[in-house]
Amino acid sequence: MLAAAPSQGTCLRSRHAGCRTQFVAAPVVRPCLQRLVRRQCVCMSTAAQKVSDLPGSLQKIVGSFQMVPDPMARYKQLLFYAAKLPPMAVEQHQPENKVEGCVSQVWVVPELRDDGKVYWTADSDSQLTKGLAALLVLGLSGCSPAEILSVQPGFIEMLGLKQSLTPSRNNGFLNMFLKMQKLTLGLLSSTNGGS
C-alpha cells in the first residue's frame, strides 16, 4: 500500500507538541515493510517556541500586540512604538548597520554594555518600519547575547501582524531580526576573541 503524500499530523518528537509538521512518508511496496518506514519530521519552527520561552522584554511586546483587535489599531500601536524609539545619530547610518531587503531604509546598532547585556538603537525613514524596528529594539534590549540568539523567528507570527503587513514588509521585519542576531553573534565573537 502506498503511503500518502505529505500530510499534517502530530509531531512525534515530544518536545514539539502542537507544532505543524510535514511528513515525508516513503512509499511502501509491501505491507510488511510498513514498520520500516521512517517518518521524517520537518518541524516548522513557527510555533515551536512558546511565548513564555521568550525573553521577558519581548514577551511584553508580543502580549501587547496580541491584544490589539484590528489593522488600524495595530498601525497606531506601531507608530506609538516608533515615537518611543530613542533617536539614532545620523553618523550611524552606515552600510554595515543597514538591513538588506527592506522596502525602506533601516539601520540597527548594538551596544554590549558592562552588565553583559545588549542594548539596541535603530532608525528608519518609514514610520511603520521604524515601529517594527522599535518592537525589536524594545523587545531585545537588556537581553544577554545568549537570550537574543535563542529567539526563533517564529515569534513574528505571534504578533498577529501578518494580516496588517504585506509580505515584503514581513520579510523586512524578519531581515531586521536576523540582522540583529547576526550582529549579536559578531559581538560575541569579538569579546571571545579578546579574552
Partner: protein, 455 residues
Amino acid sequence: MDTIRGAAGPPSCSWTPPSQSSSRSWRRRAASVAEAPSSSVSGLGAAIRKDVPILEQSINGRPLVYLDNAATSQKPLAVIQAMDDYYRHYNSNVHRGVHTLSAKATTAYEEARGKVARFVGAASDREIVFTRNASEAINLVAMTWGMDNLKPGDEIILSVAEHHSNLVPWQLVAQKTGAVLKHVRLTDSQELDMQHLRELVTPSTKLISLVHVSNMLGAVLDVEAVVDAARSVGAKVLLDACQSVPHMAIDVRALGVDWIVASGHKAMAPTGIGFLWGRYELLETMPPWMGGGEMIQDVFLDHSTYAAPPARFEAGTPSIAEAIGLGAACDYLAGIGMEQVHAYEQEIGCYLYERLAALDKVTIYGPPPSAKRGRASLASFNVGGLHATDVSTLLDTAGVAVRSGHHCTQPLHRHLGIPASARASCYIYNTFQEVDLFIDALKETIDFFGEMGME
C-alpha cells in the same frame, strides 16, 4: 536637496470637473464607484469597467480602487475569453503541424502578430517580434545589434529617467564592447532636456535609447527632436514605448525611430507577452540571440542556417495563448479607438493631478498637464514628512491600490534626491469618482499620521 516641483501655474485642462462630492470619509462610503455611462468621453471609464471583471471586488471591506496601472493593467473579458477559448478548443503547437488544430493555432498566432503590427502602424507583420516583455525586447536588441555593432569609444545615449530595463542591458553591452554610456538630464519642468541631448550627441553616438512616456514623471518625449539629433550623426533610435502604446495612438512610421518595445500586460493583455517592432531592413541585419527550434532553416550537427525575421528571434515554442490574448487586447483597444483612449486619459490624468496638487504638503513629480506634449495619466508624489510606503500601506486599508518605492527608476530617484515615491496611475476603466475616493483616502491617511504626531 529640495525636491523640484513641476512648473508653476494652473494646468489648463479643457475638462470641466463633474460636481465634486463633499469630502465623505472613506469609512462611511456607501455608493458604488461606477456611474451611468454617457456618450461623452468622460463616461468612458464607467462603460469600460463593465468589461473588466476583476474591478468589482472589495479590499478590506471597501470597493477596490485600482490605481496601479503603470505597473500592470487589468484585462477585459474579451481577452480572458480569447485565451480560454484557445485552450478549450484549438490549443496546439504552432508552425510545424499539418493537422487541423495546429493550423488553427498557427493562424490565430500569426493573426495576433498582424493585429499588433496594425496597432502600431508597422509596414508589415514581419516587423513584429514577440518577446516575453519589453525588458526581453531591449535585451534582444542589445545582445544582437549592440554586441555586433558597438566598438570601444562608441556612445550610447540614455537618460537619468530610464527604467532599469533600458539601463542595465546597455550597461552589460558597454562592459563587453567598451562602448560609453551618456545620460540626458531633466529640464526644470522635469522633462528630458533636448538641449542637453544635442550637446551629448557626437559623431561617435551610435544609439539613442529613451523612454517615450516616463513611468515615474509622466513626461512625454519630444521624439521628433530625438530623431533629428540621431539622424544628424547616423545614430539609431530605440523607444521604450511601455507607457505610450497602451495609452495613445502609435504610428512607428510617423515616429521615424528604428525600434520600439512594449509589454502586453500594461495594455490589457496577459503577462508573458511583449514585442519588439523594428524596421525590417534593420531586423535583417541582426544576428540570432536565443538559438533553438523555430528560428532555424536547416540544422546540421556542427552548424545551422537561420530563419528570416521575425522567426529568427523567436526560438522554441512561443507563448501562444498569450500572443492570442495580446491580439484580442489590440482588437479591444482599437474598438474603443486610441484617440478616444488618449482623450479620456488626458482628462482623468489632469483631474488626478489637480486634485493632488490642491493638497498641502504633496509634491508631484514631472511636468504639469499644461506641458507642450501633455503628461501621462499618472502622478508620482510624496507627502512631506511621510515615507511613500507608509502612505501606500494606509491607502491599502481603504481599498486604494497605488505603488510605492522607486518604480524601477533608482537613478531617477537619486537624481531627484528622494528615497522613494508613491504613484497613482490611471487607465481607461478608472473613473473620476475613483480619483475622488483616492484623494479622500489620502487626506485621511495624512490626518492619521498627523494625529500620531508625524508632521
